[in-house]
Amino acid sequence: MTDIATSLNNAAASETPEGGIRWGLVLDHAILIAGSLFMLLPVFLAFMTSTHEAVTVHTEGVQYLPGDQLVANYSTVLFDGIGFTGAVNGTTMMMNSMILGFGFAIGKIIVAMMAAYAIVYFRFPLAELAFWAIFVTLLLPLEVRILPSYEIVRKMGLINSYTGLIVPLIASATATFFFRQFFKTVPDELVEAARIDGAGPMKFFIDILVPLSRTMIAAIFIIMFVYGWNQYLWPTLITTNEDYFTLVRGIKQIIQVWVGAQIPEYSQAMALAVLAMLPPVIVVVVFQSWFIRGLTESDK
């Protein structure tokens, strides 16, 4: 044991010459700092540009330092009418993004937990079939069946409605798969104990399984919120009325007006971009350990 410890120390020491600068470590940090800057710089420049006047950006190019138009640009984007008709503003779009993010995440978690519970904890004739019917949905992303999906939602009269926006997005089994994997790791003793105590399946689900899944629910919620907030193609098709625009969906429409103008309004466009990425970025950074756990465990 001591031998191993000594040789380990030797091995470590051989890489770190006494007193000298550890060049390997310096290189490691240099690479990590370069990587961090590469990730950070585009968003940093976008933010700096969003604090300047459009004319400044047009004549001088993308800005590296803060300007004095922060309040002016962001209040224009948030409160003034923008877009083709000028009927929608950033606040409305942010509300719609919130509705989509929360609605999608909550809806998906409820539907998925219920389905996973039925599949894992019950023996019934159609269980196998139900399992496969649900998990085949993992095979085909929305993008490849986009046209007929749109037609169905249109025939149901759900264009320009929150239901049409949210519910079809729930039709993929990612969260169900995740909860199924998690429920399978829950010890069997809990079910037996619940049975001995005379608790039925409903009581077991609500009083034991749901509280037990708290961290998993949180992790899935973060992933699904970001996923919902960031949806683009589906909202682009389903919402033609600007009142239902989300920030991410609105971006292109508004860019066409701004960037296509005689003097491209990059500053306000970037203010809108910053608003569109701020909430999901905050959620991911603040809850990163939950989120990373949820993400890396969902694929097992």
Binding site: M39, A115, I119
Partner: protein, 293 residues
Amino acid sequence: MNKVRFGHSAIPYLFLLPQMLIVAVFFYLPAGEAVRSSFYLEDPFGFGSTFVGLDNYRDVLSNAEYRRVAIFTLWFTVLVAFFALAIALVLAVKADAVLRGAKTYRTLLMWVYAIAPPVAGLLGIMLFDQHVGPIVKLAALFGWDLRVGVNYHDTAFAMIVTAVWLQIAVNFIFFLSGLQSIPRSVREAARIDCRSGFRRFWTVTFPLLTPTAFFLVVINITYALFDTFGLIDLMTKNEPGNNPVTLVYKVFLDGFRGNDLGGSSAQSVILMVVVFVLTIVQFRFIERRVHYS
């Protein structure tokens, strides 16, 4: 799996109902409809449709434009997946090696995960803008006249750079968690046996990381094929004519702009087959991964 289960009752059916309903209406119905209409020629004025067998597929596959888009998609996918994986792997290995500031680096390298593809596309438009973009100015210093939106290859370059930038975070998260799940004892043994850090990585660490890498390859292919839609839509600025687009974007263009329902559906079905194969491959690797751990 020998899970203790509850007996027969109405509860499982009730609990499954919402999921099954949504899946049936918004998944099976449209997927089936895509397959069906790929065998029909739809009248553009809505006066019914004619069964044409495999004609739509023949038209699509013999179309020079479609082949051009398919070849671009292939290059785009290979380059995006390769660079996003390679850069993320280097960063993850370094972030795993340092002790000081490890958490800060992790945060700085993963947060881009939260950015939507079209938003990334918008940042790309600005950074590659002909008049204000710093990247264009930088390229000019090296004598490269970068003309995004005008020159086909320059636009492709801008799209690939933006798509890689956006995907590094996801790969980084998975690589780092893969590295951290390698047991301490294995790392220490490797440290004793193999002095060279570079050789140690290729002979010990990388083989242990291959399950994660295979899984990520599939994830990155799917990303480049499908999730980049918003990025491409923004960066082509509504002028897909002379700009590079991917296969998924063409499904959308032909279906919604071109009103070619049959052709668009046939393209959808071709893509379905591609994703289907990819997912089967992915599931096989996930199975293997479980065996490893």
